[in-house]
Symmetry: C2
């Protein structure tokens, strides 16, 4: 129902008949209404007023810019003196937004944008790459590889925002390849948009060495004997087993092989994350060795493979990533 | 840090120096920023722009009317051509809201409001009570007893919105008494605000016969052998054991006994929820018997105890609830 309603919304919006949309509901209504709102493009004003918004809103929001408001009161029995004010304010907000702006669309002067993926565990690498991009006449836009972020990155690549990707934190493939991870993309299929469009892709393996779960109680039972680190009380990281490195490597090659544009894959032998560095709690040289062998026998020979004797957060990775990007872009561009 | 920042916000708002607030952050920033925003009263414009909003936002929002927006892009590396637009739109929204409205405060003409608590399992009862309230010159405002809703009800009772409560769905006490339940109040202490203020309280036991969890994988291990029902794929209900009925009954009496105003407690012997009705999947006559005995030996004799040979969703419960409320309010009031 939500998907059908979404198609109706997009049709009305495309015809210029609506400039925004507001959905209202409890558990089931928020799921259907949120799904419908997700169909509208980035920037089109969308509000979800929900009796269950103080909880997990991922099923309602996905990877989209929906304004979500916990309604405080329920809607059972129709509007009353209190809920009428809450409803009226939400409606007024939508009106004000719709009068002020519309869809955010890529314009020609944005053609020098590069999409990057990051997690806390790869932030030093990503920040160093960001600093180098202006030298190439490029500007970086970072996505948090936490499921919704990676899915949003794929969406916006498809919408034409980017001329290249530095997809250095491909962590979300863990959930796709192994079936568990709270950071599994909200829409499956990481690493596909740039591959299909033939954009230059510089890819690395950030965070491919561990699972992410919520509070420790949410770790699946069969993974509870693994090495585990608490990023914070609501974020537990669990080490991958050696044989799982091979399955993730296969999935990565499977996604990269059909890419229509130039692809470079960088594998840092001294660890795929801060936690996974030599001497760190998730350091697993056997896992990395199997990963490398799997890639060597599965990655298309059209692609450029760089195996570096360094950890992911290192100047070596920055140097190779930027130099490959420069090559792919034809030796640097003027800033638009 | 969030609590301290909240005190600063309230001080600035009380002095008329700010009309709203916007917080920005990832995991840690959303927790601190959201906590700060929660300190501002209902209706004061508050926006949380978060890189992790597509997930569980309960720790950020609590029971408050915060506009939450998933930022789509990350903020690592400072603003860029895309994030600048997202930031600017969030800031513009806050400005527009702050120009349009302020705190929602109870006014004298609202003095005929009654707070009610509901879940899907008690909706027939609550809807029938709502229909009777105009006869008493009252209007009902319903709160969803899902943790944030009950906490919001306590907040707004304390803020002076209500002249009486029909707290028929006290389910959230299960989490408080037994220590497990996703619907545990976001701020502990259900049934306390009305008791402290001495408001007339008509109370029943809606949903005190089962736990609520999220997806089945989130049910604590030691409860997995219990009778379980899926309300939807993300909402699993688990039956209470007989001895747990006694612990919940004790907690209920403990909360009601100090009440400074008139209190009526209605116990429907034929089931505390739709699922718990005679013949229903959670029907547990031994549990109800222990519940009644525990209440009989623990409830203050100042309070009115009504034991009805009917299920919670029945005209008998409606009749007693409305008649007690009428008595407490002095035989009906003129509509304000």
């Amino acid at each position: 129902m939500g998907k059908g309603a979404g198609r109706v919304l997009v049709r009305l919006w495309s015809a210029g008949l609506i400039q925004g949309a507001l959905a209202l509901g409890g558990n089931q209504g928020s799921a259907a209404g949120g799904t419908a709102l997700q169909a509208l493009p980035l920037g089109v004003p969308k509000i979800l007023l929900s009796t269950v918004a103080s909880g997990n809103i991922r099923p309602f929001v996905g990877s989209r810019d929906i304004f979500v408001i916990f309604s405080v009161v329920d809607f059972v029995g129709g509007p009353n003196q209190l809920s009428r004010q809450i409803l009226s304010r939400a409606a007024t907000s939508l009106l004000q937004m719709a009068r002020s702006w519309g869809a955010l669309l890529p314009s020609p002067d944005l053609k020098n944008l590069v999409a990057l993926s990051a997690l806390g565990n790869t932030t030093p690498l990503v920040e160093n790459c960001l600093q180098q991009l202006p030298v190439l006449g490029m500007e970086g836009v970072v996505f948090h590889a936490s499921g919704a972020g990676g899915a949003a990155m794929e969406d916006l690549i498809r919408a034409g925002w980017f001329s290249a990707v530095l997809d250095l934190t491909t962590h979300e493939l863990v959930g796709e390849a192994l079936g568990y991870d709270i950071y599994t993309p909200t829409q499956p299929g990481r690493l596909q948009a740039a591959a299909e469009l033939g954009l230059p892709m510089v890819v690395s393996v950030g965070g491919l060495d561990y699972y992410v779960f919520g509070a420790p109680s949410t770790i699946p039972e069969h993974l509870r004997d693994r090495k585990t680190l608490l990023h914070n009380p609501f974020n537990a990281n669990v080490a991958l087993k050696t044989e799982e490195f091979a399955r993730v490597a296969e999935a990565l090659c499977h996604r990269l092989n059909p890419a229509r544009g130039p692809v470079a894959l960088i594998i840092p032998l001294k660890g795929f994350s801060q936690y996974g560095e030599e001497g760190g709690p998730f350091w697993n040289p056997e896992g990395i060795e199997i990963f490398v062998r799997t890639v060597q026998s599965n990655l298309s020979s059209r692609h450029h493979l760089h195996i570096l004797n360094a950890p992911i957060n290192s100047s070596q990775v920055v140097k190779v990533a930027i130099s490959e990007l420069r090559k792919f872009l034809g030796g640097g561009r003027a800033k638009g």
